[in-house]
């Protein structure tokens, strides 16, 4: 029973494709499977991975959030401005993350309380927040951030970078959360049938609010990681970030129509893309073909999955 479920899961397909890639890359380049490179890949995945936790929950409820990148941008701006205006490092980081939470809550209010479709709210917020980020920065970038502010990107605990810790801990906790906390289960319930959930006595507005607000928090953490790693706050920090996160989530098996998906799947999705783009550089495949290969591989692995499960409906 459980075995059958696992075999049918998208997670397995994506995992297998990834293992295939890893085997191929390590046979082709001895530098691929080294601690350093694994660290590079995991670091690259961290911000997308953390953000995809929130995105997965949102898409499971049947929603979408295209404002992720813009929220991340504002988080970066807040953090950078605070840090360069004399706030202590820890406070700047917390402030940045809280702004993420606050903006997520703004999305949440429009979606959960006023009932405006998520795509409209987040498309609107995407545009609006992008303009705000430019305005707050006055068009200037922030460079030379003090080292302590970059802890979320550069810090190490037990010789493992903080972003990797954060990703592992958050993914582990929220995977547990989705399976064992009643709230996690309600998120699936809302995505399967809002009406049924309401009738079962689930406070659907609260659930939706929670999901979008939490996603904001996750973008906040992702933003702190990005600023920490890049060391520079650009006016367009986070541009196109949302598409990468959505791609990872959907590639990992979360149904865009809602109701099913796992956080582990989303992480596998983002890992797959990261492994691929890292491996292509290691093999020195011409850069212009990168998109072609990534596109074909994503489509191919999902096609395998769909065909594998044919006839189950």
């Amino acid at each position: 029973m459980e075995l059958k479920k696992i075999i049918k899961s998208r997670e397995l397909t994506v995992g297998l494709v990834m293992i295939g890639l890893i085997v191929f890359f390590s046979l082709s380049s001895e530098r691929f499977l080294t601690t350093n490179n694994i660290k590079n890949i995991l670091l690259q995945v961290s911000s997308i991975g953390v953000a995809s936790i929130g995105m997965t929950m949102i898409i499971i409820t049947g929603g979408i959030d295209v404002s992720a990148g813009s929220i991340l941008g504002i988080v970066a701006v807040t953090l950078g401005k605070a840090a360069t205006n004399g706030f202590p490092a820890w406070l700047s980081i917390i402030l940045g993350i809280l702004v993420g939470l606050a903006l997520g809550s703004v999305n949440a209010s429009f979606i959960a309380l006023l009932g405006i479709p998520p795509i409209i709210v987040t498309l609107g917020m995407m545009s609006l927040l992008r303009s705000l980020a430019y305005t707050f920065l006055g068009g200037r970038w922030i460079a030379s951030l003090p080292g302590a502010v970059r802890w979320m990107g550069l810090g190490k605990i037990l010789n493992v970078p903080v972003p990797i810790w954060l990703t592992i801990i958050l993914v582990a906790y929220f995977s547990y959360f989705m399976r064992y906390r009643p709230l996690g289960r309600y998120i699936y319930a809302v995505g399967n049938s809002l009406e049924a959930a309401r009738v079962s006595g689930v406070d659907t507005k609260r659930i939706l609010f929670f999901v979008y607000a939490l996603a904001g928090l996750m973008y906040g953490i992702a933003g702190a990681i990005v600023v920490g790693r890049a060391g520079i706050v650009q006016t367009n920090t986070g541009n196109n970030f949302e598409l990468q996160v959505i791609a990872a989530t959907v590639l990992g098996g979360t149904s865009i129509l809602g109701g099913k998906g796992t956080i582990v799947g989303s992480i596998l999705g983002s890992l797959l893309v990261a492994v691929l783009s890292n491996g292509l550089i290691l093999l020195n495949v011409p850069a212009l073909t990168e998109g072609l290969i990534i596109g074909v591989l994503i489509l191919g692995s999902v096609a395998i999955d769909v065909i594998k499960n044919r006839g189950e409906e």
Binding site: L123, G124, S131, L132, L243, L288, L292, I298
Partner: protein, 328 residues
């Protein structure tokens, strides 16, 4: 009277946008003397054409339902533009043939999207996200010059420019000869023909449509192909207008096109939407951008204003329909 007016605003998206447009025109005319000149009004229309065609494509695709969306639409535009550019500019192919092949390329991209979506039943978001990478990459690859760098192509024959640069009494050729007829045609197809019926049926419920002997797969396939062709046509107009084919011409246009379709009242869940609504949204946004620029407002706030309008109109709609839907 007032009640009827407000109610119409609540239920009819196109009317809502129309009223908004009038208001905007009045305000801009007061602030900016140049805004409401005939020259400006006619001249700005050409900036709605290419994005408008993409928005029409998204409208049809989103209506088809089941998460229908095309993220690759901008990339198709880039690829089609490069095909025209490389064929005509680098390989010396006759410009008419190059243009036709460019549009066909767009159609073929749509065929690929449509095949994966409707026959392999892979979610549209994944398909078009993947093909977005693929088409972008192809556009770059065919654009490379002898140094290995992707470079724009600009040496089109002079006669090519009438499509995107000619005006008659200040009316741009592409508006009067391509955009308006096409908008009318698409409106006709969506609202008056059996294909339109099938499309709306499919978008409302794929299962019911299948049980009603609607050729669901063919319908879905067709909208992606139409989308590809429209993107190819937009590529033709754009390359002619700016006299250059670039592999990044369509960058960022996919989300803009989706935004316009959604603003025009297309339901992201499928089954609902109109060409007229999308058209009104295009006009609103084109006029808005033009007005803001003439008013000297930083271009940074163009997108911001769009965001405010998008959310604001949704809120207005909710307030209006709460007030007026129950009063029969």
């Amino acid at each position: 009277m007032m009640k009827k007016f407000l109610k119409l605003m609540a239920v009819n998206r196109s009317f809502f946008l129309f009223v908004f447009l009038i208001g905007m025109f009045v305000v801009f005319s007061f602030i900016i003397p140049e805004f409401s000149t005939i020259y400006n009004v006619l001249n700005m229309t050409k900036y709605g054409v290419e994005i408008g065609l993409l928005a029409f494509a998204e409208t049809l695709i989103i209506i088809s339902g089941g998460g229908g969306i095309d993220l690759s639409i901008g990339s198709i535009l880039s690829l089609s533009a490069m095909v025209i550019g490389v064929l005509a500019g680098r390989l010396g192919v006759n410009i008419v043939i190059a243009s036709i092949l460019g549009i066909i390329t767009g159609g073929l991209c749509g065929v690929v999207n449509g095949f994966f979506v409707s026959f392999l039943r892979i979610p549209p978001l994944i398909v078009t996200l993947s093909t977005m990478y693929v088409y972008d990459s192809l556009a770059l690859l065919i654009a490379v010059d002898k140094w290995g760098n992707p470079m724009p192509v600009s040496n089109f024959p002079y006669g090519y420019y009438f499509i995107g640069q000619q005006t008659y009494f200040n009316i741009p050729f592409q508006v009067i000869a391509i955009f308006i007829p096409l908008a009318l045609m698409l409106h006709f197809v969506l609202s008056k023909t059996t294909f339109g019926r099938y499309l709306v049926a499919t978008g409302n419920s794929e299962v019911v449509a299948r049980f009603s002997s609607v050729p669901v797969r063919r319908v879905k396939f067709t909208v992606y192909v139409i989308g590809g062709f429209l993107a190819g046509l937009a590529a033709l107009i754009m390359t002619s207008r700016i006299a250059s084919a670039r592999p990044d011409l369509g960058a960022g246009l996919n989300l803009q096109a989706i935004t316009i379709a959604v603003l025009g009242g297309t339901n992201i869940m499928g089954g609902e939407g109109s060409i007229l609504g999308t058209l009104m949204a295009i006009v609103v946004i084109t006029a808005l951008y033009n007005g803001l620029q003439l008013a000297g407002i930083s271009s940074i706030w163009q997108v911001g204003t769009l965001g405010i309008i998008l959310i604001g109109s949704a809120i207005a709609n909710i307030i209006l329909s709460k007030k007026f839907s129950s009063v029969e």
